[in-house]
């Protein structure tokens, strides 16, 4: 790890000031400390934001507001979240381990960096870590990599489960700097690699995530998360699906579907949603709609299995959520 200066921000103004001058924000630290030790991240200055007041979860009318410093375990345990947004609670509890969920913040969860082994290995080529150096994953071990949203520069998957649920729910990211607040629809927050894989998100230099907003609704209440991985627990997704359905009188009225583990960003599936809305709920519909889940997929040498897997995971989770009592 390279040396750095450290300051614990006593208030928001001093934190934003430090961030504006180039300091890295640290909250839970579970990604940043790990990558600093691997020398993937080399900040000269780190500013601890844990004393800032972004700690509350509030349900006002139909809007859930989540402070960015709320811990994953706290949000997952919140009774209102479990009732109104089962998909959020499930995505969180299927993430990481109990220890990591006690540490990791909600804002930091969105800022996780890829788990691609070439990104984490400073002796390998990686356009995301070192633009222009090439991508060792394209001709290397890419079983866990993306079949959707990749480019000839980068095919790393986004690691967050929570973000998949939030993309399905059209959450809004609230970002702040000295000039004020910016409300970023989460679908615009995450950037596909394209020709600039080092630009992973929409935050400006020094901007800080202070919270998230999600709207309640009937389909949000009937929702859930399925995660398929190499072992039963404490592992990143090979493929996951966040599904929210409003089924009234046997007909699908609203559908929200997003998948993780298969794309470079949390991946919404509008074609699957269109195939669901207005049709009669049932096994035939689930499999017909899920057949659209891999549209546009470009498998790599080792991950063609994800083309089938993503369709099966979506079908299974549509059935699970669609047939809830």
């Amino acid at each position: 790890m390279f040396p750095f200066t450290f300051v614990k921000a006593a208030d928001e103004r001093s934190a934003l000031d430090a961030g504006h001058k180039g300091a890295r924000y640290i909250a839970g630290g579970t990604t940043l400390v790990d990558l600093m030790r691997e020398t993937v991240e080399r900040p000269d200055a780190v500013v601890d934001i844990n004393a800032l007041p972004y700690r509350d979860v509030a349900l006002d009318g139909g809007t859930l507001r989540i402070g960015s410093l709320v811990r994953m375990s706290e949000l997952a345990a919140d009774a209102r979240v479990r009732r109104e947004f089962p998909v959020i609670a499930q995505a969180l509890e299927l993430s990481a381990s109990a220890q990591l969920r006690n540490m990791a913040s909600i804002g930091g969860n969105l800022m996780q960096r890829p788990r691609c082994l070439y990104f984490r290995d400073v002796s390998a080529n990686c356009n995301r870590r070192s633009p222009g150096s090439g991508c060792s994953a394209l001709g290397g071990l890419n079983r866990t990599h993306a079949i959707l949203g990749g480019s000839d520069q980068c095919v790393a998957t986004h690691p967050s489960d929570l973000a998949v649920a939030l993309v399905a729910l059209d959450a809004v990211v609230v970002a702040r700097d000295a000039s004020g607040d910016r409300r970023i629809p989460i679908a615009q927050f995450f950037r596909q690699p394209g020709t600039t894989p080092d630009q992973e998100h929409d935050l400006r230099p020094g901007e800080l995530i202070v919270g998230l907003e999600v709207q309640t609704g009937p389909e949000q209440r009937r929702s859930g998360y399925l995660k398929v991985r190499d072992r039963q627990s404490y592992e990143f997704a090979l493929t996951s699906a966040a599904v929210a359905l409003d089924v009234t009188g046997g007909t699908v009225r609203a559908a929200r579907v997003a998948v993780g583990g298969v794309a470079t960003v949390p991946w919404r599936l509008p074609a699957v949603e269109r195939a669901l809305i207005g049709r009669a709920a049932g096994p035939d519909l689930w499999s017909a709609a899920a057949a659209h889940a891999a549209e546009g997929a470009k498998p790599l040498t080792d991950n063609a299995f994800k083309v089938d897997l993503v369709q099966r995971v979506v079908a299974r989770q549509l059935a699970t959520v669609g047939e809830l009592p």
């Binding site: 790890m1 040396p3 601890d48 109990a98």
Partner: protein
């Protein structure tokens, strides 16, 4: 070899003798000795560890784990992967289980830490420690202090209601000897008794 020479004093003594360059208690302990901290890159932190107040100047890079092991002399907490993948370094930080390898000591000025050394009371093992012995819940023992710290939380959080629930909520602690069946039994037995 006299009677008081246990494994711990032997290991500590041997490393001090063999590793002449390793200075016990150095501000650099656990960090990259190739790049020593400049002015402004060390910080004084105060913590209450197992009920005792500690005040230490640490290199900002020092993890909570390295501070406990290398600076506070509490080597019961183990370093396994040092990247949050194994759980051997689990401690209770302000009452909650965390991976001490993935957090910086400087972030926890004023915090209360409990390690495996602070689990037994008045010379009596905690029921969970006794249950690990009774159910044969370890082989090499390297993961055990992390398993016990995590198990204490698992029970206290109310996540030890069934073997299935224990397996899920203890999944952050890897045992490469594969003593999982008996670890689950130790946690389940203690949850029922306490």
């Amino acid at each position: 070899m006299h009677a008081e020479l246990n494994r711990r004093t032997f290991v500590v003594g041997a490393s001090a003798t063999v590793g002449g360059a390793v200075i016990a208690g150095s501000v650099l302990a656990g960090c990259d000795a190739e790049s020593p901290p400049a002015q402004g890159q060390t910080t004084v932190v105060k913590m209450r560890v197992n009920g005792a107040d500690k005040e230490l100047e640490v290199d900002n890079r020092t993890s909570l784990l390295d501070m406990l092991r290398e600076r506070a002399g509490l080597t019961g907490t183990k370093k396994g992967c040092d990247q949050g993948a194994c759980g051997a370094c689990t401690v209770l930080l302000d009452g909650k289980r965390v991976n001490s390898c993935l957090t910086l000591a400087v972030m926890h000025d004023g915090a209360e830490v409990r390690t495996i050394e602070g689990v037994a009371e008045n010379g009596r093992l905690h029921p969970l420690q006794q249950a690990f012995i009774d159910t044969d819940a370890f082989q090499c023992g390297y993961c055990t202090s992390g398993q016990i710290m995590s198990g204490l939380s698992c029970i206290q959080e109310g996540h030890a209601g069934s073997d299935e629930e224990i397996r899920e909520w203890m999944s952050g602690n890897i045992c490469r000897c594969g003593a999982y069946t008996n670890i689950v039994a130790a946690v389940a037995q203690t949850a029922k008794e306490t």
